[in-house]
Each structure stands twice: as C-alpha cells, then as structure tokens.
Symmetry: C2
C-alpha cells in the first residue's frame, strides 16, 4: 500500500511527464513538490524499489506502467472530488484544489466507483481537465492553446493549464469560463499579447494568460 507521500510523488511525475518528454530531473520534482532535491533522491529510490518508476542515477525518473496506473487513479479521484465540491457543495473553482489534494488519498475502490456514479460519470472536472475512467483511460479532446490562434479565429474555452487560485480568480473577473466563446481580434506582435472579444467585450490578455487557456478552434460560417 502506498503512503500519501509516495502517491504525491507519482502524481507529480505524471503531471510533469504530460508536459515534457524524457526523464524528469530531481530538481524539477523538488520544485514541483516544494521539497529538497535530497529528499527527492531518497523517495525516488524507494519508488524504484517498488517498480513504480524507472530511475537511473543522474539521469532522471520516468513512470513504469504500474506507476502510471497508480498516478491515474489519484488523478481520477482528485478530479472527481473537485467536480463534487463545485457541482454539489457550492465551492468556487478556485477553492477546491487543497481539499481535493486531501480527498484524493482516501482509499476505497467502492467510494470512487459510487462517487463516479453519483456524479453522473463526468468526463471533465470544473477546470476542464479530463477525468480518467476506472481503467485509466482519458477522454481526449482536440485542445489548442489560445496563444496558438490567429487574428480572426473563433474558439470555445475548454480548459486551463494553471489551476492556481490567482489565475482562476483572474478568469472569473474577466468572465472567462468553460465553454466561453472567444474571438481573437488583435495580436500585438512585440509581446504577443492579444485582444479577444468575449460576449461583445474587448478583453486584453497577456501571452502568459493566453498560454494557459485551452480552446477548441472552431470554424464559423459567415
């Protein structure tokens, strides 16, 4: 049985692997987990002993199939609980993360299954992130970053890369949420900031912001 700490390491490795290919460095993991490199080295060795990660000294870690399976279950639980908190308990989407970080470690296969049923087997969490099914399969949608679009493009908001409370509050303020319709009306070449049209309002977005917004690019018949 995995400890909470071991689960957190697996989840962190999984999330970093979603972004970059290849082995993950000790320091990158330490940063993500807000701990020190020495602690990471130690834990990685334990996980390698348990065949949950492949580890080569000085060359980083990668999840094994078993490790990925565990990680996906934790992600599944995290996202189901986030859905529960927002949809049933009136949490705002910027308040759920820390609580879900706790709830994801509850060990009860029946609980996960019954919660999934109770919630109507949702496919996406409140931030638009896909919820893995019981076998670890992710529903995948053809997502792009808003920053990849061109002037004149239309899109529908489908998720966010940064789930920090400050970013989500910023989105709330700009009235940007899941399924919000967006039209790109201008891209400033010098800093790649853009102006988008949302519900007839002109909203300015920095490159940092547009990088963190996932959209589905749609073609509009004129």
């Amino acid at each position: 049985m995995l400890t909470q700490s071991e689960e957190n390491y697996l989840k962190a490795i999984f999330h970093i692997q979603q972004e970059v290919e290849g082995g993950i460095s000790t320091s990158r993991l330490a940063e993500k987990l807000e701990t020190k490199a020495a602690s990471v080295t130690e834990m990685i060795k334990r996980l390698a002993d348990k065949k949950l990660v492949d580890y080569q000294k000085y060359y980083g870690v990668q999840l094994t199939d078993m490790g990925r399976k565990h990680a996906l279950l934790i992600v599944r639980k995290h996202r189901l609980w986030e859905f529960f908190l927002v949809e049933r308990l009136n949490f705002n989407w910027d308040e759920v993360h820390e609580v879900a970080e706790q709830l994801e470690h509850i060990k009860s296969p029946k609980l996960v299954e019954e919660l999934d049923i109770f919630l109507g087997r949702p496919e996406y969490d409140p931030h638009g992130d896909p919820i893995p099914d019981a076998n670890g399969n992710l529903p995948k949608s053809p997502k792009k970053r808003l920053s990849q679009l061109k002037t004149g493009d239309h899109a529908i908001c489908k998720g966010f890369n940064d789930n920090s409370s400050s970013f989500l509050k910023f989105l709330d303020k700009q009235e940007i949420g899941l399924d919000t319709q967006i039209e790109v009306i201008h891209i400033e070449s010098f800093d790649e900031s853009m102006t988008v049209l949302i519900d007839k309002r002109e909203v300015p977005l920095s490159k940092t912001a547009s990088d963190n917004i996932y959209v589905e690019h749609i073609t509009v018949e004129v």
Copy 2:
C-alpha cells in the same frame, strides 16, 4: 494543527469517556487503538503538552475543554460522512466505518459546513448516533438499552452501541433497523435473553444483543 494520530487518540478518549466516568487507563486506550501501552504513554504526553488532555502519571487521562472540542469535530465529520455514504452513495450501514475513519481527518471547515447543508443538516447518522452541530452540541434523545425494558414494554429502536460489521449484519438479518417497533414478550430469567415481537415475528435476542440496542420506551394506549 493536529496529526491524524493525535485526532484518533482524542476521539478514542472521547468515546471511552461516554461510557465510563473518571480517568482512562493507558491499557484501555491501547486496547481501543490497537496499539501498545508504551506508545499510548508517549502520545498522551504530547497531547498533555498541547493542553488537549489532563494527565497524571499512573492515574489516567481526561479530555480538557479544548480536547473535547476537537474530538467532537472529528465525531461530527465521521458521522456526517457516514450519512453521506449511506444516503447518497448506496453504501450499506455495515460498510461505512473504515471509509469514514479516513474521511473524518480531512481538514476544511468549509467542506464540513457545506456537506452538512447538502445533506440537510441530519441529526443522526445511519446507526442512530447523534451528529454534533458546528458548536459541538449533541441532539439528545431519551435512550434506554433494550435490555432495561420489562415484559410487555413497547419501544422504538433508536441506535446501537456496537457498530461492528458483524453486529450490523446480524441486525439486518433480523430486520431490525432504526425506528423498528419492538415489543418485549418474554425475558428468560436465567440468562436474561429475551424474545421480542417485531412486525409479528418472534425474535430471540441474547443479553449481549439487547444490551447493544438503544430504544425509546413508549407507552401504548390499549
């Protein structure tokens, strides 16, 4: 902030104090927590340092007001989650204990409050145990043990002292649940076992069983 282990000790002390007066012995606590006396002594000292218990070497522990407050919050969370599991997630009442033991340690005041609202501010958990409110007040009902009744008495089942899976399964088999109507039709003097009438069925109950069933004694107009 309290660790999970500290919370479990407070809860155990609270539950034992409900049953017997006075200081609680190290060995009694060790038994309840399925650990060793030496470990208990150690933890008790930590809790005493934190002013959560009063402790006198060789004379047992008692909760302080602060300690009781913490214990009641844990009991509140435990029972709210049990209610949730049974009423919303289709758990049977004999399956909820271990999961609730985990869920009770989730730290989020908002979660507790919103869950309470979501569930309709229930007063009793699925076993008939009272759920403390946010201030630690217990709704109290005038409960007796079924074993205290006399032949001919009528009563309504209001709770159980033993929440073990085996006892709850036994109750299920006898079709005894919360609010079940019971009439005592015979008490065997030599072993204090009794025969009760439930929904026109004669059900034999050992003293052990009747000791663990709480009832509200009612007067029937004939």
